[in-house]
Symmetry: C2
Subunit: 375 residues, 2 copies
Amino acid sequence: MDARTGTGPTPTIYDVARRAGVSIASVSRVLNGRDNPRPETRDRVHKAISELGFVPDGAARALSNRLKQVVGVVFRRVYGTDDGMFEDETESLLFGDQINRGIEIVAQRRGYDLLVSSVNIDEHTLPNRILTIAGKCDGLILHDQVLSPAGIASIARTVPVVTLAGAGGGPSANVRGDSATSMRELARHLVQDHDYRRLAYIAGHADSPDNIVRGRSFAAEVQALGAECLTGPAWQGDYSAGSGVQIIRGLIALGATLPRAIACANDQTALGVIYALAEHGLDVPGDVAVTGFDDLPFARHLRPQLTTVRQPIQEIGARAFEVLHDMITADSGGSAPTEGADHPLPDIVLPTRLVRRESCGCPPDSHPPVWRRIF
Amino acid sequence: MDARTGTGPTPTIYDVARRAGVSIASVSRVLNGRDNPRPETRDRVHKAISELGFVPDGAARALSNRLKQVVGVVFRRVYGTDDGMFEDETESLLFGDQINRGIEIVAQRRGYDLLVSSVNIDEHTLPNRILTIAGKCDGLILHDQVLSPAGIASIARTVPVVTLAGAGGGPSANVRGDSATSMRELARHLVQDHDYRRLAYIAGHADSPDNIVRGRSFAAEVQALGAECLTGPAWQGDYSAGSGVQIIRGLIALGATLPRAIACANDQTALGVIYALAEHGLDVPGDVAVTGFDDLPFARHLRPQLTTVRQPIQEIGARAFEVLHDMITADSGGSAPTEGADHPLPDIVLPTRLVRRESCGCPPDSHPPVWRRIF
DNA sequence: CTGAAAGCGCTTACAG
DNA sequence: CTGAAAGCGCTTACAG
């Protein structure tokens, strides 16, 4: 045995059996905590295991059990092309990583581990990469923006798939936050409580279901209340802070009159918008009110503190795992595949809520956050 | 075939072979991109594959190849006990997550995926959990603070292991940033350039090798320059912002005279220290200078901007994968295990550098960060 | 309680 | 170029 790399023909269950003077079946039984091997046998086996430094091979186990106890999680890489491989990233990591944390915590309780993989949406070998990943897992959780609806449909025919923040009624099970209700509430708050009459929505990725719902709900409610909601290509962002910066700079450069309030597709974008506004000496919320969506941790540390919509981020991840786990175990149930509508695909919508802080024009929170709870 | 869950006896290579009218060997060959199957055969196989929605089973493949193309990454869970499962977390995620990103980017190029798993250091089944993870991977990367040196030694005898931020010369290969050099440089900067005479170091986890090196290097240099460096239990933190807050509050409550400058074990701690200082009306750096370590993205957004030591975080992760990959491929080389010193365990030390910003007393950066680069 | 044997789904010499 | 067969390291009925 090489004490440094674990080299030397890795011991297998056969080596353990030989050393303990039992059959591999018995070794397997103690490995799996069965209660039939009698204590004396069990001890011999345990002794052999630790003497050999034996670790059961997960692949062999998976093959035999037809269960890997691994779920794949695929998300979109923010940056990370070959050119900018170690370019700075920041808060942009948080949303996806927090979802993953939620998935992981729940998965662990069921003995599952996470195979995480970020993909570049431009990769030409994307379908292949995802298939390789799928082969290593019992099921897949796909974050938003990693695969086209057609791509999702295709992979979902082959392995259990849960999408995050996708559209309901799509080709896969789905879990998302309730964007519509709280965007309407936000619109009412801005128009009715603050009496803003000219507003705008800065969009996220044009093909993101969440973005579409947010934009529509907001604009519809604003207009229903008799106020104006600016739209159009000038307001098309991509969920990044950078896009928020560019949009504001562009508008100001054109000499456009800014709206009184800007609702952003997410917190990231709002961060960029506030930065760009400050850059031009404009006060938030004095000159322009700005709001976000997600309530990432940094939202309450911003100046001004960001009014936003709180999504239960980790819970979205946790729920996604649960749905996937149900699909995985149902699968192995071996029941004849049913084509009908008797098992409609779940589309879980988790509640969100409007968090009014300063950036919309509300007074500062009189209860500043307690550090213990945050860190 | 169930269009919804991928149910229905999942097709295997046998099904593909039958449908294409070839042997499973041929299917395997086209699957692996060999060039011997002639085009005509290859097309038939590809057709059968897509018609059946066949995905090769990673476990079977791994068993046959004796290679899973999966590396395990284990890190310590910050919070996430059952009580506070969805408690807020924040920047504390960034350090570990950025390392993981670095690992992943490089791993992907070699066709490896990451099996990530956070562990609670108090778990009584920790060794078992880690063994289960090990069984699903070709090798393991262990973040700091997940396992005792003895635990690391034990697992490293069984599977290839690389630790992060561990001590050199330990029981496993290791990758870390150079803490000593830049902490000495920091000490010189504070004492010589700013002329501070009374300083302190707020420690991280007492058993963290990085922390030990940082504290010793800093204190030694400060003293060598004839200044004073406070130490002792009053300055013992745990790398969290909360511990920074508590230490400052405690000191102030006791009526202690604060030192002129405080070097923290990491940025998180500095964040807490600055917050607690502000809480008591103390100015940074006017009354007390504060510095961090890591240069997490938020460091430059703090007020005042944080003077800190920049670690190449993603590179640490990337390098760890490369070292591990070397160990994995060397292992399968099947060469007789060598016990001697001919393959000393790598202990990679990556360069760091002092980043002087405002919190040490230097003038504000005249080149504020450009958003495009940051987000 | 224990063991011999089949089987999980691949890959790869080895023959043809 | 292609196929039959052995083998990767487990688990689990099935007999005893």
